[in-house]
Symmetry: C2
Subunit: 592 residues, 2 copies
Amino acid sequence: MPSYTAPQKDILFLLKEVLNIDEVLDFQYFKDVDMDLVEPIISEAAKITEQEIQPLNQPGDQQGCSFKDGIVTTPKGFKEAYQAFVDGGWMSLNSSPEFGGQGLPKMLQVALDEMLTSANVSFSLYAVLSQGAAHALQDHGSDLLKDKFLHKLVSGEFTGTMCLTEAHCGTDLGLLRTKATKINDGSYSITGTKIFITSGEHDLTDNIIHMVLARLPDAPKGVKGISMFLVPKFLVHDDGSLGERNGVYCGSIEHKMGIKASSTCVMNFDNAKGYLIGEANKGMQTMFSMMNIERINIGLEGLGLSEVSYQNALAYAKDRLQSRSLTGAKYPDKQADPLLVHPDVRRMLLTMKAYNEGNRALALFAARLVDTSKHHPDAKQRELADNLMAIITPVIKAFFTDTGFECTNLGLQVFGGHGYISEWGMEQFVRDARIAQIYEGANGIQALDLVKRKLVMNEGVFLNQLTEIMSAFITACHDKTELNEFVAPLESYLKTLVDVSYWIINQAQTHPNVVGSSATDYLKLLGLVILGFMWLKIVAVASKKQEQDNFYKGKILTARFYFKKLLPEVNTLKEKIMAGADSLMDMDEDLF
Amino acid sequence: MPSYTAPQKDILFLLKEVLNIDEVLDFQYFKDVDMDLVEPIISEAAKITEQEIQPLNQPGDQQGCSFKDGIVTTPKGFKEAYQAFVDGGWMSLNSSPEFGGQGLPKMLQVALDEMLTSANVSFSLYAVLSQGAAHALQDHGSDLLKDKFLHKLVSGEFTGTMCLTEAHCGTDLGLLRTKATKINDGSYSITGTKIFITSGEHDLTDNIIHMVLARLPDAPKGVKGISMFLVPKFLVHDDGSLGERNGVYCGSIEHKMGIKASSTCVMNFDNAKGYLIGEANKGMQTMFSMMNIERINIGLEGLGLSEVSYQNALAYAKDRLQSRSLTGAKYPDKQADPLLVHPDVRRMLLTMKAYNEGNRALALFAARLVDTSKHHPDAKQRELADNLMAIITPVIKAFFTDTGFECTNLGLQVFGGHGYISEWGMEQFVRDARIAQIYEGANGIQALDLVKRKLVMNEGVFLNQLTEIMSAFITACHDKTELNEFVAPLESYLKTLVDVSYWIINQAQTHPNVVGSSATDYLKLLGLVILGFMWLKIVAVASKKQEQDNFYKGKILTARFYFKKLLPEVNTLKEKIMAGADSLMDMDEDLF
């Protein structure tokens, strides 16, 4: 069975030394949060994820969720672990104290969420969906609804869902058919069927709060006619006690490639009572309140799974003796050398390590932007942080989950044949990681969102704000000769990024298909360059301390691998993007 | 449930128009094989794979093999389908008539094997392992052993296995511990435990013939002390009837990520009677007789799974309506446009199509080399073909299975959320494809074999023979202006291949780790360039006929996509290789 140790040292290094969480804690909103709290929170998060949640991961995969007569049973131990998670206050770390949350920075929430996904992605899904639902309710719900539902969503007494997809529409929500009709008491009657509803039904809590996209009578066609409704599994009385069972039932659960301990439900709404959230026909905006939160969470699945896969692959590579080093036996007293002497095994492990640590830095950098966008005293800084998040969110969702899938496969490969055998657990990481490239907006859609809405539609404004920050940091590193090996190439890759970006912006005017033909390659290119920036931030700190602790020397060496062996892909991506759309679009449908 | 239609038209195009199978049929050995036989064989192979074998694929995955009291039961229908396959003579297509085979070219065998893996990889494994075992027996076995076992292996009345791996050694066979002791009648007593034995036990045939690597008493240490033994499940009397049960038993079967209908067995040999195959202590050479055959077969799994995944993804992309084209509605009368209008969906499908058709061409090109190496009248041509196969075999094993895994994942992605749900079958292709990157020598080992043994150790002789053939073909295309868009870039990529190859050969003298650090990138680079050569061969034919049939126009357009969007990766691979080994090797073990 695989093991997991939360990377506390790396997380604290990033929070404290690279990303200066102390500056965030200086915001007025965090006045009650002391720097001394950071370490204990990280270590307690490590404890519960390592000890309570991770041990359920492999048994959960083997047992899966079961469905009978509308009731979903989660694997053994999930209910108790969920209760411990709620009791420990882990559901409400980052939520507003006004609704019972602990008001801690997103930076700590993201650190927790990474550990949670490393430990058990299926388990994490019962928790993280609630965060999105709570967020939508807090931002757009009436006070009455907040009073009834928000505290309990925040605490974890209830869980939440997002009910978007229908059988005939996933990406294209404009096609959805679920209907909402106003009834006498001001609430709505919801009827329709939703599919792929994560945590739509389960046995962990007494109530489940569904956030449902539906169409009012005479609503405009397409996405401009969609509204959002809160539909509880059980109605709630004014005193907070549970009322009658609402007309929403699970029809079946899916049999999936992975995340088998997470229930993926068909949900039937049959004149279910619902409450409008936000304005009528503005459901898409309300939805994005949830979606942007979820996209970060899903991105973290890629990171979390790659991290735990790395840890186990590394242990195996140190332990397993097989063949001799190309330069002669390293351990002549043993019957063979450990796998770790082989350059190709190191290639796999370093690829994982470089993406993991770079992605972790970017995740926490983004979390810092979220904290800034909400709580910075200066409105301009808040807006800047929002703009940067607009462009970084699809990168975190897609780049993290693409590299996460690549890396869990490398982890499996390090194990050779044993990696393919279920009992070692490495293949579960691959199966669990695969969904993250799809749900909450498939990665192709993330890329299209990035290029179309975040790059082309604002003519590069957000991108300029991002590249200016990178550029300023690079310039500030110019006089540090020990950083030359990173500064010079990053400067050149940054120029490539800008060149490619404006090539796309210009092309898009006359060749709209270029937006689509370049999207996936552009997202990867942007991700690689931002990660180069993260690595420069890391080595700028580490280079000063490499004599005092090998930990910092490891950072320099990993950065060097990243710059030599992973960043060069930028050049090919540029070439592919600039090859344009014709070779994709010229093929007639019947020639495929 | 997914469907499958064998790509007969493409196979016949390659056999007849691109690779001139008529020249192979002109060899004396094939004097009884008429060109008129080619089409019926392909269409009958299509029929049995589509109609008898493919329908068992998804149920086989769901049911899996079961194990009880040493007995393995294959999924429902496998026994009957196997019998039909044997009765149709499909087990012995390419085998020597001397032993009951049909003496048909390897080119037709490879065409069949691709279809078989598209239809059902698990099923195919019961058949293809026998080919390797038969090959080793034919090349190295005594006449007595051939008389007893070879006809029945060839016909499929018995199946065969390769028993190499032990719990502590996979790649590094020098470590193996299974013992063989000579007994009075000239046979040997074999004792030890083997793992990961594909088809080690099953209920399809009355007997199973194991080819077992073991160590004689006082054998030299390491790989120079390994011998190969034939160990039948049941001993065979001189009259061909089955004798007593031999001391080889299945101890358990593995629970795996995929190929669940293929039995993967722990095999316990307890004083089992075995017969020496080939010379004592020369077992590794004997093994490579099997292994090189198997490596082509395993490569074909990547192609076969990618092909069937492509067919289903394409059908879905034409059928599923979601969102509008970036250039405006293409089907304004429908509620949305089909997925196929979207550039990013086309990127995924064309990547699959370009690799599939390129890999298929290379597979059949390699099969032609096998036929040439065995049956060409000119010894020099036979040797040349052997040398080319030495360098192409690891490419087929690793490049096909890496691109196969990439492509089955693209196929899944085209389906969005539905791709992750078991009932659609797309995720099974991914799980089934994953093992092919590992077994019969993990792809990292293929790459090391390529760079160390096939490139560096002979100082580029084999590579030169290959590049000369490519170069000559390119030169012959110079005067065809319609091919310019392919000829000029391929010439440049070929130069890159040669430059990189000699850089590695030179570096290897002083920096042995460069052999390992460049291996995986080099194999991919070589694969991409060889596929560029295949595409040039294809368009050289197609460009003359594109007016007469859209089929040929499709080839030109697919080649264009390959050259614009896939081949450019060569440049990044070059950069990564030439970045050397230091960034991999400088990290101390404890800094990982």
